[in-house]
C-alpha cells in the first residue's frame, strides 16, 4: 500500500484513534496521579521506630520516577507531614530536582515561589522551598526577605532579620542614626533568635534606646520555692516528694535541711534566670520545687520554653510534660520546647529542680529560665503571672 493510500484509509478513523489515544493518555495520567497520591500517602504514614518504612520505601521509588511538574503536589503534602515524613519527602524532592537540573530542566520557579509566599503552608515546608529557590537563584530570591520579617518560618524570619540588621548597620555606618535606630527597632520587634535580639538591643543601647528585655522575652519571674529535699546519689530525681502530689503553699515540710516552707522568689534577670541558690543557699545533692500560676483569657495551645542545666521536671496543671535527668551539660534560652495546652483561666506550673554532687566551679548553678510562647517564640499575651497569697491549690 502506498503511503498516500494508507493515510487515506486511516483518515476516516482518525477521530476515533485520537479519542482512543487521548483516553489512554488520560488513563495513564490518572494511574500515575493515583500512584503518586498513594505514594505520598504511604510516606506521610511514616512513624517512630521504623514504622511504615517498607511502604514509604516503595513510595519513594514512585516519587523518584516523577519530574519537576510533580513538585507542587509533593510540597503540598508536606503540610500534613510529621517531622520524619517531612525528611523523606524533602529528600525525594532533592533527588528529583538534582536529576532534572542535571538535564538542564529549570526548577518551576513560579509555582515554587507561589508556595513560598503562601504563609498558610507548613513553615518547615516553606523554609525548605526558600532554601531550594535560594540555591537556584542566590541573588534574586533573597530580595523577597524584607517582606518576610514576621514570617511564621523561623528560618525565613531569621534570614530576613539578618538582612534588616545588616541594613541598619549600614545606615549607622553612614551616620544616619535616626534611620538606623528605626531599622534596629524594627528588627528587634520581629526577632525571635537570641543572638539577633542581643545584637539589636546592643546597638539600640548605643543609640540611647533602652529595651525591656524581660518584657520582650516574656519571662515568668514570680515563683514560690521550697526545699531542699534529698538528692544524694541523684536518687531524689525519681523520688516523689510531697509537692508532687499536692502543692500546699501553707505547708511545712520536713527536709534534709530541717523544716522548709514555700518562700517567694521574684526574678530580676534580663534573661529570666530564676536562681534557687538565692533563697536556699549553694547546696549540693538537693531538690527544690518552684511553683507559679498563669492566667489566660482563652484556652490556647502554647509552648513552655525552658532553659536549664540542672535535672528538671515540669508539670502543667498537674500533668507531667517532660523531664531531663542531666546535670551541668549546658543551658540556653528555649533549650526545651514543651507543648502546653493552657486552659482558660488559671493554670499551675510546677518545676522540680535537681542539684547533684559535683563540686567544680561550673556546677554551682541551680537555676532555670522559663517563658510561655506561641510556636514562633512570641510570648503569649495577655498572660498574667503570679502566685496568690498562700492557698491550697489542687493541681
Amino acid at each position: 500500500m502506498k503511503p498516500r493510500t494508507l493515510l487515506a484509509s486511516l483518515r476516516p478513523q482518525a477521530p476515533l484513534l485520537m479519542a482512543l489515544a487521548t483516553w489512554l493518555i488520560a488513563l495513564q495520567m490518572a494511574g500515575a496521579q493515583s500512584s503518586l497520591t498513594d505514594a505520598l500517602g504511604a510516606i506521610l504514614k511514616v512513624g517512630p521506630k521504623g514504622e511504615g518504612h517498607a511502604e514509604a520505601q516503595a513510595g519513594v521509588k514512585v516519587l523518584l520516577a516523577q519530574d519537576l511538574n510533580s513538585l507542587p503536589q509533593i510540597l503540598q503534602s508536606m503540610d500534613r507531614a510529621n517531622p520524619l515524613a517531612m525528611n523523606w519527602l524533602r529528600s525525594a524532592v532533592e533527588s528529583i530536582a538534582q536529576r532534572e537540573q542535571a538535564r538542564n530542566v529549570a526548577l518551576p520557579i513560579a509555582s515554587l515561589g507561589a508556595f513560598l509566599l503562601d504563609v498558610s503552608h507548613s513553615p518547615q515546608a516553606r523554609a525548605y522551598v526558600y532554601q531550594l529557590l535560594s540555591k537556584a537563584d542566590p541573588v534574586g530570591v533573597p530580595r523577597l526577605l524584607p517582606g518576610m520579617l514576621n514570617d511564621p518560618s523561623m528560618e525565613i524570619r531569621n534570614a530576613a532579620i539578618r538582612g534588616a540588621l545588616d541594613q541598619a548597620a549600614a545606615e549607622l555606618a553612614a551616620g544616619r542614626k535616626g534611620t538606623a535606630t528605626l531599622l534596629f527597632q524594627q528588627a528587634l520587634n520581629n526577632a525571635r533568635d537570641v543572638d539577633q535580639i542581643d545584637l539589636a538591643v546592643g546597638k539600640l543601647k548605643g543609640l540611647g534606646v533602652k529595651t525591656d528585655l524581660q518584657k520582650l522575652f516574656g519571662w515568668i519571674q514570680q515563683w514560690k520555692v521550697v526545699g531542699p529535699f534529698d538528692n544524694a546519689r541523684r536518687e531524689g530525681y525519681e523520688r516523689v516528694y510531697p509537692p508532687e502530689t499536692s502543692v500546699r503553699l501553707e505547708a511545712e515540710y520536713v527536709t534534709q535541711g530541717g523544716k522548709a516552707r514555700w518562700v517567694d522568689l521574684v526574678g530580676a534577670d534580663d534573661y529570666g534566670k530564676i536562681d534557687v541558690n538565692l533563697p536556699l543557699g549553694k547546696l549540693k545533692d538537693s531538690i527544690a520545687y518552684c511553683y507559679t500560676e498563669v492566667q489566660v483569657e482563652d484556652a490556647v495551645n502554647a509552648e513552655i520554653r525552658l532553659g536549664c542545666k540542672n535535672a528538671w521536671k515540669v508539670w502543667l496543671n498537674g500533668r507531667l510534660l517532660f523531664g531531663r535527668d542531666e546535670y551541668h551539660r549546658g543551658a540556653e534560652i528555649d533549650q526545651y520546647r514543651l507543648p502546653a495546652a493552657l486552659k482558660k483561666g488559671r493554670n499551675t506550673i510546677l518545676v522540680k529542680l535537681g542539684q547533684n554532687e559535683q563540686k567544680e566551679d561550673w556546677t554551682v548553678e541551680w537555676e532555670f529560665q522559663m517563658r510561655i510562647t506561641d510556636a514562633q517564640g512570641s510570648p503569649i499575651a495577655p498572660l498574667r503571672v503570679g502566685v496568690p497569697p498562700p492557698i491550697t491549690a489542687s493541681r
Binding site: H53, P83, R90, A92, S95, N158, D193, G330
Partner: protein, 400 residues
C-alpha cells in the same frame, strides 16, 4: 605473643567484612587510623601538595569517608544548625556530585566548639549512613536516594546530651551500630541497614559518652561490635545485640579503642591490650599506664601505637609490649586523631597546622608542616591517592 601478632596481621589482611570502601568509617577500615596503601608523602606543600580544596555548606567535625572515587561528608547549617547536609564529592576534583539536606528532628544544642555534624558517617559499600548530634540517622544509596530516615530523638525523646553527641557509626553483618549514650536515656541500637528497623536495642550506662564503636573480626567470618563506655567494653553480636563478653574495668568516654587483628587496644587505665581471639572473655596482654590517650584515639602503624595528647605531646609505644619508646612535642592543641601509614604520621592541630612526623627516627621527628589556616577539629581520612582533611567548613585533599 608473637603468635597472636601473626594472627592479627593475617586477620587484617583477610578482614572479610571489609567493604570495597577505602575508608568506610571513622579511623579507617580497621578502626586504627591507618591503611595499607603505602607511605604518607615525605613533605607537605601548599604549592604542589594540595590536590583540591572546597568549601562546605555548613559546619562540622565529622571525618569524610571514601568509597571508590567518591568522598562523602556531613555538615550542618542554619541559625541553630538545624539543616543537616550529606554531600557526595568527586575524589578526583572535589566537585559536588550530589547533596541531600534534612531538617533536624532532635535537639541541636551543643557546645560551641563542637557541631551537630560531629559523628562521622559510614558505608557498607552499598549505602551511606549519616548520624548527627540531633540523633537524626539517614541512610542513602550511593546516588543519594533515600533508603530510610530515622529520628532517634523522636523515638527516644530523652536521649541527648546538651554538650553534643559525637559517637560515629560502624556497620557489620547488615547491622548499623549507633551508640546513643548519654546521662539520661542511654542506649545502643543495632539497626537493619536495609529497612532502618531496630534489630536490637540495649540499655547502656547512663553517662555521657562520645566514643565510637569498633567491629572485631573473628575466625570464620564472624564479628562482634565492641561498645565502649566509662564502664568498660561490651562486645555484642551485631545481629542480635547478645553479649559475647564484657570487660568491666572502665574505659575512656572520649578516645575510642584501636584494633590490630585480634587485639583491641582500649583506653583503659592508660592503655590496655585485650586479645579477643579466644572463646569467652578477652585475655589481657598488657596494660600501660604511661600510654594515656587524650581526646584523640590511639593510632597503630608499623608495630607502634601512637597517642596524641590534647596539648601536643605525641607518645609512641611498642604495640607488642606496651613499652613506651619515645615522646615528641608537636604543636597543639589537638581534638582530632592523627592518621599514619608506614613510617609517617600526620597530625592536624585545632588551628589547622598539619604536621608530618617521621616515626622511624629514634625519638620521632616533625619533618614537614603545612598551615591550612582554618579550624580543624576532625580526624583526617586516607585513600590510595590522597589524604582528606576536613576543616570546620572546608575540605582539602592532599596528594599522597
Amino acid at each position: 605473643m608473637k603468635k597472636t601478632f601473626l594472627l592479627s596481621a593475617l586477620c587484617s589482611l583477610l578482614c572479610p567484612w571489609a567493604t570495597n570502601a577505602h575508608w568506610p568509617q571513622f579511623r579507617g577500615p580497621d578502626f586504627n587510623g591507618t591503611d595499607n596503601a603505602g607511605e604518607l608523602p615525605a613533605q607537605l606543600s601548599a604549592s604542589g601538595g594540595i590536590a583540591w580544596q572546597t568549601a562546605l555548606p555548613g559546619r562540622g567535625l565529622s571525618s569524610p569517608i571514601i568509597l571508590k572515587d567518591r568522598v562523602y561528608v556531613t555538615c550542618s547549617s542554619g541559625p541553630k544548625q538545624q539543616t543537616l547536609h550529606v554531600l557526595c564529592l568527586s575524589a578526583t576534583d572535589g566537585h559536588k556530585i550530589w547533596e541531600r539536606t534534612f531538617q533536624a528532628t532532635g535537639r541541636t544544642m551543643c557546645h560551641e566548639k563542637t557541631s551537630v555534624a560531629a559523628p562521622s558517617p559510614a558505608t557498607d559499600g552499598e549505602r551511606v549512613f549519616a548520624l548527627f548530634s540531633s540523633n537524626d540517622l539517614v541512610c542513602l544509596d550511593l546516588d543519594g536516594n533515600l533508603v530510610w530516615f530515622r529520628g532517634l530523638s523522636v523515638d527516644y525523646p530523652n536521649a541527648s546530651n546538651s554538650l553534643g553527641m559525637s559517637s560515629s557509626l560502624a556497620t557489620a553483618d547488615g547491622a548499623l551500630i549507633a551508640q546513643v549514650e548519654n546521662d539520661t536515656e542511654s542506649f545502643t541500637a543495632g539497626i537493619d541497614v536495609a529497612t532502618g528497623a531496630n534489630l536490637w536495642k540495649l540499655d547502656r550506662p547512663r553517662m555521657a559518652n562520645w566514643c565510637s564503636p569498633t567491629v572485631l573480626s573473628l575466625p570464620g567470618g564472624k564479628h562482634l561490635a565492641a561498645l565502649q563506655s566509662g564502664k568498660g567494653i561490651t562486645a555484642v553480636d551485631p545481629r542480635t545485640g547478645r553479649t559475647a563478653w564484657d570487660y568491666k574495668d572502665g574505659a575512656s568516654t572520649t578516645a575510642s579503642s584501636a584494633l590490630s587483628g585480634s587485639v583491641i587496644y582500649a583506653p583503659s587505665h592508660g592503655l590496655t591490650a585485650l586479645d579477643f581471639s579466644g572463646d569467652g572473655e578477652p585475655k589481657q596482654l598488657w596494660r600501660a599506664a604511661q600510654l594515656r590517650p587524650g581526646t584523640a584515639s590511639p593510632v597503630i602503624a608499623g608495630g607502634r601505637i601512637l597517642l596524641m595528647a590534647d596539648g601536643g605531646v605525641l607518645t609512641c609505644g611498642e604495640l607488642e609490649t606496651g613499652k613506651r619508646l619515645w615522646q615528641l612535642r608537636t604543636k597543639g592543641p589537638f581534638s582530632g586523631t592523627p592518621v599514619a601509614a608506614g613510617n609517617r604520621l600526620l597530625a592536624v592541630n585545632e588551628k589547622g597546622l598539619a604536621q608530618l612526623v617521621d616515626l622511624s627516627k629514634p625519638e620521632g621527628e616533625v619533618i614537614s608542616e603545612l598551615d591550612l589556616n582554618h579550624t580543624v577539629l576532625s580526624t583526617p581520612s586516607l585513600a590510595k591517592e590522597g589524604i582528606y582533611i576536613r576543616g570546620e567548613s572546608r575540605l582539602w585533599k592532599l596528594r599522597r
